[in-house]
């Protein structure tokens, strides 16, 4: 609730956004400040609202697929993965070739690394360090080149299809991915040396924005936010989908509960994603990348809920179908929406600079929240 300023109290109402460098898009936060201290922070969202859920009820399943990548521009592939898996759940006869599943996972994990690198740069930018974003974009560029080669896009990927993926990869591409994994592994110590150990950085993020285990559950936080609070909840492990059960990887958590915990978790996740990519490339089976018999018109009935782990947390597609070609109701549960709703409780009484650090540690993508 946006409170009216109380004239008896000397507080200042500050509208942070919708055009502000640190809100990462069109998010507005109404702040009630007492000097530099934030008494109340109320996020105002919806500036980038496009009513994707209604579009989902109008278009058929395949037609809507192009929309999902537009929600989370940072990790578009996991949004696509979730949607395709949800649709495939409604088609029990469809057999997706294994190679296609492997390619989905490889590209999604590459995208996850790219998304975390984007977050890393933006987070440090929020904290006033300009240089790290250009370093991380250097690596992100390498990922985008790889993804562009196979998907044809660099940001809003539409790579997956019902029944497989749209393009196969060759050996050169796999070698390129492995070369990138090696390069990224070599670069990680450099990032830690440049940023993680820096005293100014640590002072800015340690013990800032404490989310307890209980708070994380109550608010439905997911992704690195909940894992930074010590709960090892990762859809890839808790509710295995695709080929993740066949791969060996850890779910990094941190007991710190603060911005530093979320920072540590994301870096550990990049390393785990590299492990996943490496294993998936090694195990990549031969064969087709599209199922042989894919229904031309998808007419399903019933309801499905499909959760996947997007870069920012648990992403859920709820699709209810009435037997026609398009869903009767399409609900998209996005991770950042729940993660951001905790902001009001979290930022009561903290400094303006800490608010920026806390919002940065959530890795917000506003079009995803607004949908």
């Amino acid at each position: 609730m946006i409170q009216k300023p109380d004239p008896t109290q000397e507080t200042l109402v500050l509208n942070m956004g919708p055009q502000h460098p640190s809100t990462h898009g069109v998010l507005r936060v109404v702040l009630h400040c007492d000097g530099e201290y934030v008494l109340d922070a109320e996020p105002v969202i919806g500036y980038g609202h496009r009513m994707h859920e209604l579009i989902g009820e109008v278009r058929d399943h395949r037609g809507f697929y192009a929309n999902v990548g537009r929600m989370d521009y940072g990790g578009a592939l996991s949004f696509g993965h979730g949607h395709i898996l949800a649709v495939e759940r409604m088609l029990p006869d469809l057999e997706v070739p294994e190679r296609a599943e492997y390619l989905r996972v490889i590209t999604t994990e590459l995208n996850r690394v790219a998304s975390h690198l984007l977050w890393f740069g933006a987070f440090l930018l929020d904290l006033g360090a300009f240089t790290p974003i250009l370093y991380s974009f250097d690596d992100r560029e390498a990922i985008l080149d790889l993804l562009e080669h196979v998907t044809g896009a660099r940001l809003t990927f539409s790579y997956m299809r019902v029944g497989g993926v749209c393009a196969d990869v060759d050996k050169d591409w796999c070698d390129g991915v492995l070369a990138f994994v090696k390069r990224m592994r070599d670069r990680i110590p450099m990032y830690h040396k440049l940023v993680s150990g820096n005293i100014i950085f640590r002072k800015r993020v340690e013990d800032v924005g404490l989310i307890t285990r209980d708070m994380a559950l109550k608010y439905g936080c997911t992704g690195p936010v909940i894992r930074g609070s010590g709960i090892p909840y990762d859809v890839r492990r808790s509710e295995p989908y695709s080929i993740y059960p066949e791969l060996d990887f850890d779910i990094p958590t941190s007991e710190r509960c603060d911005c530093m915990g979320r920072y540590d978790v994301r870096w550990a996740e990049i390393e785990q994603s590299l492990r996943i990519i490496e294993q998936a490339i090694a195990k990549l089976p031969e064969g087709p990348v599209m199922a042989e018999k894919v229904p031309k018109v998808i007419k399903a009935k019933g309801e499905v809920y499909q959760a996947v782990e997007a870069a920012r947390g648990s992403l859920g597609y709820y699709i209810a179908c009435d037997g026609s070609t398009s869903p009767y109701r399409m609900k998209i549960r996005v991770p950042s929406y729940s993660n951001l709703s905790i902001l009001k409780e979290l930022t009561r009484g903290i400094l303006l600079s800490d608010l920026v650090a806390v919002m940065g540690s959530f890795d917000l993508v506003i079009p995803e929240i607004d949908r």
């Binding site: 959760a307 109701r329 609900k331």
Partner: protein, 170 residues
């Protein structure tokens, strides 16, 4: 599943096991309006994590749908409650699950369902001056009967139609 047994003990809550491979849900719950808060408190005790609150517009009643999942074990609970189209009121769970706060506001934005005792029902995603604009309400020619879409209501249509009606009007 422990939660299924506990939910079966509640009289106003009908919990059944759902077919996970085809629906992605383990426990399917149908409850009356007065049981929403009891249900939410119980599921909160079991450390469930709130995923979403949403609604579906249909005839004769609208359906509010809650999704919960457990962070440690594989268990997703989908809970349904029917809301009359003419009344459009539902108890809030935003004090039990603060994370439901925004989801309920979103449901009010898109469907016009008012959550009773919710601290703030002003539009969240839609513009503040468009209080009566609910984009996800189905048009006359598009709206379907609840049981035409959801299998859950097909089975119960014959046997428990009368009981359902009774609960809703409470």
């Amino acid at each position: 599943m422990k939660i299924l047994d506990r939910l079966k003990e509640l009289e106003g809550v009908e919990a059944i096991a759902s077919d996970y491979p085809s629906t992605g849900v383990h426990v399917d719950v149908l409850m009356g309006l007065t049981w929403v808060r009891t249900f939410a408190s119980l599921i909160r005790e079991e450390d469930f994590l709130i995923e979403s609150v949403t609604a579906v517009d249909a005839e004769p009643n609208m359906m509010v749908l809650y999704h919960f999942t457990h962070p440690d074990e594989l268990c997703r609970v989908a809970a349904r409650v029917l809301v009359e189209r003419s009344v459009k009121r539902c108890p809030t769970i935003s004090d039990i699950y603060p994370g439901a706060n925004w989801h309920e506001r979103e449901v009010r934005d898109f469907f016009g369902i008012v959550f009773e005792d919710h601290p703030d029902m002003t539009p969240l995603i839609l513009p503040e001056d468009q209080v009566d604009f609910h984009p996800l309400l189905k048009k006359e020619n598009k709206i379907k009967i609840l049981s035409e879409v959801f299998d859950r209501f097909v089975e119960e249509k014959a046997e428990e139609a009368s009981a359902n009606e009774g609960e809703v009007s409470e």
